[in-house]
């Protein structure tokens, strides 16, 4: 299991979701991905994307203008 980071700052939705999706596709179940975004829409869209695609959101933190979402990759079907 490994931890990865993704800088999605300044990207507008749905680009943070797309970058997250593309990054997750290269990871293995159990890996975590920390995504740093500035579009507040990501707070809703990344968790929604995770719900429909079977991944877990471990945490959502806000630091000033940044939103940091940690995703754990779920098991492949």
């Amino acid at each position: 299991m490994s931890e990865h980071r993704l800088d999605a700052r300044r990207l507008l939705c749905p680009l943070p979701v797309i970058r997250c999706q593309d990054a997750v596709a290269k990871l293995r179940p159990g890996d975590t991905l920390v995504i740093v975004c500035t579009d507040p829409g990501a707070k809703h869209d990344i968790p929604a994307w995770c719900r429909v695609n079977g991944h877990d959101v471990l945490s959502i933190e806000e630091q000033q203008d940044e939103i940091i979402v940690t995703v754990q990759v779920g098991d492949a079907d």
Binding site: C13, P14, I18, Q21, D39, G41, H44, W49, V52, D65
Partner: protein, 347 residues
């Protein structure tokens, strides 16, 4: 038991594609969704930028639909390839710069590539004959199927009964009798079907799914092409067309003026790519200058910047100008009066 067939549904976030996918699920088909991001999609951008809207960002309708259906959603970035669709649409534009028919052909074509790469059997869309005057007509349906290369792997469950049987119907993967024959501009059959499925709170049908159907947006894009002398754009260009006040005082440059804090903040992210200006003696907007500007132009830009600052009625306003390659300078200028900005400068 026979093998479960798999379909990918083009999910726009609207009701029709939601229903089309749902109808397939009713028939035991495994459905996953695909959604394309062209850069022009109306998904919450300006909401994310404007401060007053940040508190309640708009939901992503395609993701919402996928959740309602309990299906996976694949969002595909087609920004680069889509440029050719917008710039050279074989079938032309709709009322504005919306190349709807070419856009549909392109998206179905991408879906065809996707099913081939992912081992799916066919493609589903929420198209309805006659729903849109330009792109959803009886004669455009076969054009989309043929030009996309999808041919009879493209099934439109909401109007399939009015079209020749597709492969999934002929093979018995889906029962044609349980498909629909919706036609025309009315939304009543869709709403009735939504009720039947117990669906509420779906996105209301609007004029179109992207900014290219918007007259003001298209006007700004046309202006950009004219000013550059060629039909070309980058993702930053089309994002910036959604933000701020766009003013073109001279053919060779335009100004993008932030209208409030959220927009100013967003524009700040572009400071390294553009000559930019802001007032120092008064509170005011951040202004990006797109194009070429000589000495007189910079002064004019400074006067426009001052006009949109809190010093608009002052005798003199200090404006800091940061040229892209050059030294930072301060201009002390008299703000332009409202009547000194001709209406046709506003894009």
């Amino acid at each position: 038991m026979s093998e479960v067939r798999k379909a990918v549904a083009l999910i726009s976030g609207g009701l029709d594609s939601l229903l089309a996918a749902r109808v397939m699920q009713e028939q035991g088909i495994h459905v996953e969704g695909i959604n394309f991001f062209t850069g022009f999609c109306v998904e919450g951008h300006t909401h994310a930028i404007r401060k007053k809207d940040r508190a309640r960002p708009k939901r992503n309708n395609a993701l919402w639909v996928a959740e309602q259906l309990g299906i996976k959603l694949h969002i595909i970035d087609i920004i680069e390839e889509y440029k050719d669709v917008v710039i050279n649409p074989k079938h032309g534009y709709g009322a504005n710069l919306n190349p709807c028919l070419d856009c549909k052909v392109f998206m179905v074509h991408k879906a065809k590539e996707w099913i081939e790469a992912n081992g799916f059997d066919f493609i589903v869309t929420g198209e309805v004959i006659g729903q849109r005057p330009k792109s959803q007509r009886k004669d455009t349906m076969p054009i989309i199927a043929a030009e996309s290369g999808a041919e009879d792997l493209l099934l439109r469950p909401l109007c399939a009964k009015n079209l020749p049987p597709t492969l999934p119907e002929r093979e018995g993967w889906v029962d044609r009798e349980k498909l629909y024959d919706f036609e025309g501009r009315t939304r009543k059959p869709q709403m009735a079907l939504a009720r039947q499925f117990g669906l509420e709170d779906y996105a209301q049908p609007a004029g179109g799914c992207c900014f290219l159907t918007d007259a003001n947006y298209s006007k700004k894009l046309a202006d950009l092409w004219q000013a550059r002398g060629e039909r070309r754009y980058e993702i930053d260009d089309i994002m910036l067309l959604k933000v701020g006040r766009h003013i073109r005082p001279r053919p060779h440059f335009k100004l993008i003026v932030g209208r409030e804090d959220g927009e100013n903040k967003f524009l700040e992210g572009y400071r390294k790519q553009f000559t930019h200006l802001f007032t120092t003696s008064h509170n005011g907007p951040l202004v990006l200058l797109d194009g070429e500007a000589g000495e007189d132009d910079l002064e004019l830009a400074a006067r426009v910047t001052a006009r949109y600052s809190q010093g608009r009625n002052a005798e003199q306003v200090d404006v800091e100008v940061h040229p892209l390659d050059g030294e930072v300078r301060t201009f002390s200028v008299r703000p332009l009066g409202g009547s000194e900005i001709p209406a046709d400068w506003h894009l």
